[in-house]
């Protein structure tokens, strides 16, 4: 399949189409509204399902195969803010807090983008390391910590652990429900193995794609409500939201290939690097960098980078991964 066919088939997947429907619902001011508990429930479900499947994969592959690429993924997440921050400061003229906030979002990761990428691989029957969700789990926190430190002016000495907001934020970044559910379910998957999978497959695997579609309908509504903010964020951030994923994605694919991942696996690491967090990072950043304007980071992550990744980015990073594979 060539890049264009891949993009097209990706665009016609139910998940992407439900995202578009959500955007339409928001823009047309329909009275469709998800109950908050549904959103929370879907989040819990998706995180457990990904984590559990990853854990079963670790059980099969052995920790020996996983630790090196996982460490590489973690490092990449923590490093991304270090080059994103100066770009945002110098070229984008953002305040210290805003630059740190945006850097935290783009270093951290989006679980749904990751799932969309695995779906794409499955749809073209491309194999990949099933334990790749480990990368997702370890990439969520480091960038948030680094970004918050940068946004607090860590290098100007204003960063302090006695700041209540920072304390709450760091605790949430390390022990937030996202990390807890992903890692927790992963450990459970690794402990219970194939037997465990057989028993819960009918809930965590069979309906998974449909649940994802439902979740993307809601994400579409949330993103759609932010479309109006696109004007406020300015041309620079708009371009940043398109270029950053391309750069980070390429870096991720490269690193993945280098540590010996398959084409599919390297592409997934690229997608993770390219993705920007819109669940864990916003909450942690809001608590610790209140002077940062959430409109910038959230609009860029959710209304620009996320749609770019799940439509064009996913097949694009796959193309890169194919060409880089030795």
């Amino acid at each position: 399949m060539d890049l264009l066919t891949a993009i097209q088939s990706n665009l016609l997947s139910p998940a992407v189409l439900f995202f578009v429907l959500g955007v339409f619902a928001a823009v047309s001011k329909s009275d469709l509204k998800f109950p908050e508990s549904l959103y929370t429930t879907l989040t819990i479900y998706l995180l457990i399902a990904i984590g559990f499947k990853g854990g079963v994969a670790i059980h099969e592959a052995g920790v020996g195969a996983v630790w090196l690429p996982a460490l590489a993924a973690m490092a990449l997440g923590g490093l991304i803010p270090l080059w994103t921050y100066p770009v945002l400061r110098k070229l984008g003229s953002f305040s210290i807090a805003d630059a740190g906030a945006i850097a935290a979002h783009y270093g951290s990761v989006s679980a749904v983008t990751f799932i969309a990428a695995t779906n794409f691989l499955k749809s073209i029957h491309e194999p990949f390391e099933n334990y790749a969700s480990t990368f997702l789990a370890v990439m969520e926190s480091p960038a948030i910590i680094v970004g918050v430190m940068l946004g607090k002016g860590a290098f100007g000495g204003k960063f302090s652990l006695s700041d209540q907001g920072v304390r709450h934020a760091l605790r949430d970044a390390v022990l937030g429900r996202g990390v807890l559910l992903l890692i927790g379910a992963m450990v459970i998957g690794a402990l219970s193995g194939k037997n465990g999978m057989n028993s819960v497959e009918g809930f965590f695997v069979t309906p998974f794609q449909g649940v994802l579609a439902l979740f993307l309908l809601e994400m579409g509504m949330v993103a759609g409500r932010r479309l109006g903010d696109l004007k406020k964020v300015g041309v620079f951030l708009l371009l940043f939201g398109l270029i950053a994923p391309v750069v980070h994605g390429a870096a991720g694919v490269l690193l993945g290939t280098w540590v010996g991942l398959s084409t599919g696996g390297a592409m997934l690491l690229g997608v993770l690097a390219a993705s920007a967090s819109y669940i864990a990072a916003p909450a942690a950043v809001r608590l610790s960098l209140p002077e940062a304007n959430p409109t910038y980071s959230l609009t860029a992550a959710l209304a620009i980078t996320f749609p770019f990744n799940i439509t064009v980015g996913v097949p694009f990073f796959f193309e890169i991964a194919k060409r880089l594979q030795p």
Binding site: E36, Y39, Q164, H168, V222, R225, A283, R286, L287, P290
Partner: protein, 100 residues
């Protein structure tokens, strides 16, 4: 029956602040609180409750007048500037004043 005047302080703010506000209340001398999720609109725009990140929480606390002043002052100093938030005080009457 004897009723005793107390202050009810109501705080409406971004949902992610709940834990911090409750901590602030405890530190200021409150012996309890009540909270629930709400949606709304204000100077920071619309806050829909379909996802936690954009939802609000309403926190109510019954306290002695002096504690009410402390609470409002600390909110003003520490949180008003940076977050979507409204706080107000009103007069209520209770039967067991020693509870608050």
């Amino acid at each position: 029956m004897n009723l005793h005047p107390m202050k009810l302080v109501t705080i409406i703010c971004e949902a992610i602040l709940e834990e911090r506000v409750v901590e602030l209340l405890r530190e200021s001398g409150a012996h309890g609180h009540t909270a629930f999720n709400v949606r709304g609109s204000g100077h920071q725009g619309e806050r829909t409750a379909d996802i936690t990140e954009t939802g609000n929480v309403q926190i109510q606390v019954i306290v002695k007048p002096t504690v009410a002043t402390t609470v409002l002052e600390r909110l003003h100093r520490e949180l008003f500037a940076a977050y979507a938030m409204v706080a107000y005080e009103s007069e209520v009457h209770v039967m067991r004043p020693d509870k608050f």
